[in-house]
């Protein structure tokens, strides 16, 4: 019940919150190198946790289900798109919206793994 998925999902939301806040500060042109480093570190950690959770969920007892694959793949595509947008410095204004969507994704993960 208090398995690894609950732990990872909880840590994921904590770090995603920190990443979201640092991202907001970057958008507000509070663009110091320190904030950028924090944002990048938190972003990569949440991405790794996301991948771990996806692998654990898909290899779990319930097996691979269509809706489960769709959800995790959508989250993965969003994360990769966000990284690409930031790295390519294209559509920078969409970075904020993608960041908000990713934060909502983490709330959804928390709902399925912890609250429900």
């Amino acid at each position: 019940m208090f398995g690894i998925t609950v732990f990872l999902a909880s840590i994921g939301l904590v770090i995603a919150t920190a990443a979201f806040l640092s991202g907001m500060q970057l958008v507000k042109r509070d663009n110091t190198a320190v904030i950028f480093k924090i944002h990048r570190l938190n972003g990569y950690i949440t991405f790794l946790i996301f991948i771990s959770l996806a692998l654990l969920a898909l290899s779990g007892k319930g097996g691979i289900k269509a809706w489960s694959i769709t959800g995790w793949t959508a989250g993965l595509v969003l994360s990769l798109f966000k990284i690409w947008v930031v790295k390519a410095k294209r559509g920078y204004k969409y970075g904020t919206r993608l960041g908000i969507i990713l934060f909502i994704v983490w709330l959804a993960i928390i709902y399925t793994h912890v609250v429900k």
């Binding site: 019940m1 904590v14 995603a16 920190a18 806040l21 190198a33 320190v34 924090i38 709902y111 609250v115």
Partner: protein, 276 residues
């Protein structure tokens, strides 16, 4: 004198052999579906104390046990399931029997109960998985039974329900995600609940209603709306039970708050590390 002694010894030996033969005949092992196609057929043909071994597979039956039999799956509940043929009746009904055993089945699909024990004593219910029933295991006016290692999860009402049943032992069972209560004792006394896990039931984890002198020890009663609820009951002994209400509803808020704190700490640490 000698022949008479010899006759007595001979008669004793015959009686002993006959008793052994009768006992061994009584303890026959019946295989389903090899000897009989259905479990119910095997139950009807079996003699008291026989063992019925059920091969893996999905069976659709309502089984009524009226004699002391051991009904056991060969490969455990993940490979052997019994679904109610008539959903209005229990899947297994033990009626007025002493010393029967039901071991290692997945029991589903009854709008009454998965395993229903009525007026029966000293029965052993072990290692079963009961889900999708109205009640997982229902003991009515049944005493001195032992329920161990059962998983009574995701039932419509209650995982394990004891009514007017005394001196039973519930040990290391799971009663999770039931739509009403996990374990419910109603007018049941002197029962022992040890090391049961009762998680995520819609209302109460463990309920004692008009039930006295029960022993609750080392149970994990976590994330139910209410943990252990005791009403109109006296003399119950509760020791070392873990109870944690469903605070997970507010968990996201706590986690976000922790995230904000983490960000503030990170800023300070990074500022220290990267000062020119």
């Amino acid at each position: 004198m000698m022949p008479r002694k010899f006759v007595i010894v001979f008669i004793c030996a015959i009686v002993l052999i006959a008793e052994t033969v009768v006992t061994s005949l009584h303890a026959a092992v019946i295989h389903v579906p090899d000897n009989y196609k259905t479990i119910q057929e095997a139950v009807e043909k079996a003699l008291p104390k026989d063992t019925i071994i059920v091969k893996e597979g999905a069976y659709k039956e309502n089984i009524v046990v009226t004699k002391p039999l051991t009904i056991k799956s060969s490969k455990g509940p993940d490979a052997t399931s019994v679904q109610a043929y008539n959903p209005a009746k229990p899947v297994f009904k033990i009626d007025n029997v002493n010393e029967a055993a039901i071991i290692g089945f997945k029991v589903t699909g009854s709008a009454a109960s998965g395993i229903h024990i009525i007026n029966s004593q000293y029965n052993d219910i072990n290692g079963n998985k009961l889900s999708g029933n109205e009640i997982g295991i229902f003991l009515l006016s049944s005493n001195n039974n032992t329920l161990t290692n059962n998983q009574a999860d995701s039932n419509e009402l209650i995982g394990i329900y004891l009514e007017r049943s005394n001196n039973n032992i519930l040990k290391e069972n799971n009663a999770d995600k039931n739509n009403d209560k996990g374990i419910f004792l109603s007018s049941s006394n002197n029962n022992t609940l040890i090391k049961n896990s009762v998680y995520l039931n819609a209302w109460n984890g463990i309920t004692l209603w008009s039930s006295h002198s029960n022993e609750l020890q080392d149970n994990n009663v976590v994330r139910n709306t209410y943990g252990i609820v005791i009403s109109d009951s006296e003399g119950n002994n509760l020791t070392d039970n873990s109870t944690w209400a469903n605070v997970n509803i507010i968990m996201p808020i706590l986690l976000i708050y922790t995230g904000i704190m983490l960000y503030i700490i990170e800023k300070k640490i990074f500022a220290m590390l990267y000062t020119e």
